[in-house]
């Protein structure tokens, strides 16, 4: 159950032919990680490399093809990694263990149906309303700006966004947005977003950087009930 946000990435370098009990060490490590409920782990066979023994292992050198480096990678939350490291330290008799800070952008399991009731987060009381004004024809890296903004807000875990199309207006660009029958349309578009002040302040710099001409308006609102399901926590019961 990997969550979005900061996490640790562990990389273990071993030799393909290093053995642990009856099988290869990398298999033993993968079995251990699976038994501990690690979200996922990958073992990759290298093309060539050298390590602590200062001997080149390469698939070109036939006699040493069995001795190729294997890299095992997995990403987990920091407390989980702390829990696993002592055992891994014990297991890796010959090799290298490295840990680095990382950020999980998306952890999705499409094929798995949520088994438990999805965890929900409720927002009540003090909240902020952000309205973003732009033109319908505004674009951002090849797609329409309002679509790009909604996608970005979704990625940033903002509770919700609604796009409204106006029928007339003018603003930062100075020209009047009017409906035309055959001409390309550039009607005003407004995206309204409600979430906690912290969520919106975090999203603001990213949204602001996407807009060329426009207006962002904030107001304080009272959230009566704003419930959102957290999809990444849906399989927490597995």
């Amino acid at each position: 159950m990997l969550r979005k946000g900061t996490a640790k990435k562990v990389t273990i370098y071993v030799n393909e032919d290093t053995r642990a009990h009856l099988g290869p060490l990398y298999e033993a490590i993968l079995t251990f990680l699976l038994s501990k409920g690690v979200a996922g782990a990958t073992a990759t066979r290298a093309m060539a490399g050298f390590g602590g023994h200062q001997a080149m292992h390469s698939s070109k050198i036939e006699a040493r093809a069995e001795h190729l480096p294997v890299r095992i990678e997995f990403i987990e939350a920091a407390p989980k990694v702390d829990e696993l490291l002592p055992t891994l330290y014990d297991m890796v008799t010959d090799g290298l263990i490295e840990v680095q800070d990382t950020t999980v952008v998306k952890a999705a399991a499409a094929e798995r149906q949520p088994e438990a009731t999805p965890h929900r987060e409720e927002i009540r009381g003090k909240a902020r309303l952000m309205r973003i004004y732009m033109g319908e024809a505004d674009r951002w890296k090849g797609e329409s700006l309002y679509e790009a903004i909604v996608k970005r807000l979704r990625m940033l875990d903002v509770a919700g966004a609604t796009v409204y199309r106006g029928i007339l207006g003018y603003g930062a660009k100075g020209h009047t947005h009017k409906p035309g029958l055959w001409v390309s349309r550039d009607l005003p578009v407004m995206v309204s977003v409600v979430d906690t002040p912290e969520k919106l302040s975090a999203a603001l710099p990213e949204i602001e950087a996407m807009i060329g001409d426009g207006l962002i308006v904030f107001s304080d609102v009272e959230a009566i009930r704003l419930v959102r399901a957290l999809p990444e926590a849906a399989d927490a019961g597995t």
Binding site: L168, G174, I211, V217
Partner: protein
């Protein structure tokens, strides 16, 4: 990044069929705002609603009774000047003002 500055938001609620000076009221309002040098105005059409006259405003063929909302964001000073002007143009409807913070992005003009 530009800092948010305090501003005021004015919202006008009326119906699409309201007219002023021979044209739809929402067009007249937007034009008047432009003449007065107001930063911007946006007109939205609602799907359904009801208001002062207590009759339901919804789209019917041949009738334009859908609700209209005009939102205007500018400095408190400019909104104060604008309110009496628009009040004279509207017969029925609602005006609401609220405090907001705004960030104006005018990158194409800066270039």
């Amino acid at each position: 990044m530009p800092e948010p500055e305090p501003a005021r938001m004015l919202r006008l609620h009326f119906v699409e069929s309201d007219r002023h000076g021979g044209k739809p009221l929402y067009e007249a309002v937007v034009e008047r705002c432009r003449e007065l040098g107001i930063a911007g105005a946006t007109v939205f059409r609602g799907l359904e609603g009801y208001g002062e006259s207590a009759e339901l405003h919804r789209h019917q063929i041949g009738r334009h009774e859908q609700p209209i909302v005009v939102t205007i964001v500018d400095t408190a000073q400019n909104i104060r000047i604008l309110i009496p002007v628009l009040e004279n143009m509207m017969q029925t409807g609602l005006m609401a003002v609220s405090d907001v913070e705004r960030i104006r992005l005018e990158r194409s003009r800066e270039l």
